[in-house]
Subunit: 336 residues, 2 copies
């Protein structure tokens, strides 16, 4: 089980046991900062657990062998897709849909697709030709079980299935919106997405002169791009305006950077056991990180500032934004 170490005290968490944002408006009167108030009055832990279970079911239903010839590739894909994880991207997508008053069933195929894309990036990142990781979340990585060749192909199949899945299963929304979602999903993986961020990251490894701007560029594309797709696709499927999308983008970019700063901090402070993957890898690889450039204390401050800015971007949505505000806090408070 994941340990939630919320910065915001979950004193009032028991008050809301459902996935719905509180419908009353009085909660915001309890605190000075309305955004923080919405967070404290909202049971994030219950929300996350409900959405995690919902997502696991949707993921489990998404991939099935359709003939005996596809058994091996589908088994390999399912192994990694269903290997646990926080399911942050599907949650962000579903929460954004709800924030704009949409029904999550419309966004469910996209939520599944986001996790497929994320899983593809993990399978390929773990390969010997990349990070060469034998374990992830305490389990053998895909290529350890299925071989490098099958792992590469399972990743490719997962990525293409992500697009097919959205195109085939998104119902109850105009086709123009589906095209918009597929465009945003595609962008989030390409040169201005996670693959582009990864290549820049590789290029900078061992380079002594990597500054904060380059580090921020890398993290914006390596990490924030897919989170941005998650939030913006969820919003788009609920009929987001350009203004809504701009706010969602600001929120996602900020939490994406905060996520990476937190990850850099964890790499220094957490043990391998806590992380479920090899700790201290960034130091070994001679990588530039936020703690290296700014120190641990200032890095923690930066993460906090980014989360505050992310939350401020969603102020217009009041209590409907509660899940996204809570998830922003969660991102810098997680232990793994």
């Amino acid at each position: 089980m994941e340990v939630l170490r919320l910065l915001v005290l979950p004193a009032l968490c028991a008050a809301y046991g459902t996935a719905r944002a509180p419908s009353g408006r009085h909660a915001s009167r309890l605190a000075v900062d309305p955004a923080m108030a919405a967070t404290t009055a909202f049971d994030l832990k219950a929300y996350m657990e409900e959405k995690r279970v919902y997502t696991e079911e949707a993921l489990d239903a998404s991939l099935r062998s359709t003939c005996s010839q596809t058994d091996l590739i589908v088994e390999s894909m399912r192994y990694s897709l269903l290997a646990g994880g926080k399911r942050v991207r599907p949650m962000l997508c579903l929460a954004a849909t709800e924030m704009l008053g949409g029904d999550i069933s419309v966004a469910t195929p996209t939520a599944v697709s986001l996790e497929m894309i994320h899983t593809m990036s993990l399978i390929h990142d773990d390969l010997p030709a990349m990070d060469n990781d034998d374990f992830r979340r305490g389990k053998p990585t895909n290529h350890v079980l299925y071989g490098d060749d099958v792992a590469i192909l399972a990743g490719d199949a997962m990525l293409s299935t992500a697009f097919e899945y959205v195109a085939a299963n998104t119902k109850g929304v105009a086709a123009e919106r589906v095209v918009q979602v597929l465009r945003m999903l595609g962008e989030s993986v390409g040169p201005m997405g996670l693959a582009g961020g990864q290549v820049m990251d590789l290029k900078c490894e061992g380079q002594p002169d990597v500054g904060i701007d380059t580090l921020q560029w890398i993290h914006t594309y390596k990490t924030a791009a897919l989170l941005k797709a998650a939030v913006c696709c969820g919003a788009a499927l609920a009929g987001a305006s350009d203004e809504d999308l701009a706010r969602c983008e600001t929120y996602a970019n900020k939490i994406g950077l905060a996520f990476q700063v937190a990850d850099d901090i964890l790499d220094v402070t957490a043990s391998t056991e806590e992380l479920g993957k090899t700790a201290g890898k960034d130091l070994d690889a001679d990588k530039t990180t936020y703690p290296k450039l700014l120190g641990l204390d200032r890095s923690r401050e930066v993460a906090r500032e980014l989360v505050d800015e992310a939350k401020a971007a969603l102020e217009p949505y009041g209590e409907r934004a509660a899940p996204l505000l809570g998830l922003a806090d969660y991102i810098i408070s997680r232990s793994n």
Copy 2:
């Protein structure tokens, strides 16, 4: 330059210098088989050259570095995308659009996308963890120049950009059609597409009991699936009915299998120099091939029969099908 060895004598080829199918109907009176007549009366060489040049321009325009940070990944993607090749998939797509009376500008982003998907599969297939090929079309493969890690990521970025490109650039057609195209493209790469076919192919390597059914399954998904997507997407963008799509699917499946039979034959009969890649690899890898199962002569017959069946499926389109009929012949007559 590619050498065209057409089985059909190009005696009448000079008659048509444009990419348009002949508009008169009298050509079909010249021969017993109307499908063959349409082929002989059509200048395939000129058609292919025109469409190749058109496709090269579209491919060149498709990928550009948008900031200095993306230089390396975009350079790596462009290197493989623009490394020549027959551009068969874009041609099939554009020809199918024209066959149904559509304008090729509507199908151009999809034609580009098909070549991106094909290129991704080549980059990943050539990796040391897969076929370990250092050369393709006489040039160093992507990973030889950019490293395995960048090659994996360039492939991933290419695959996602393929979907983004169609979603962002397809104009003049209903969004429902774009969604349909994106669905077909996604399917062509997944477990029931080229990745699934590849995994099954790997699984069968060195197995003594691979029969013709399994071999046909492998080739249907490893090769025919993307050709099917090419023809069916092109047709869909011109407003194809379900009946049109079924005919296009039959055509594509047949030429896909014929393509692979021809490839197996070439692997036995052609030299490394002619192929531009290492010859005899199938024998080295102890792979089941059509010549091994059926002998060379019967394999040639099978290829011919498949092409005839493919052409028969398009009979209802008369002379509008001329480019696709010509391409079907070309597929089993190519020297590389």
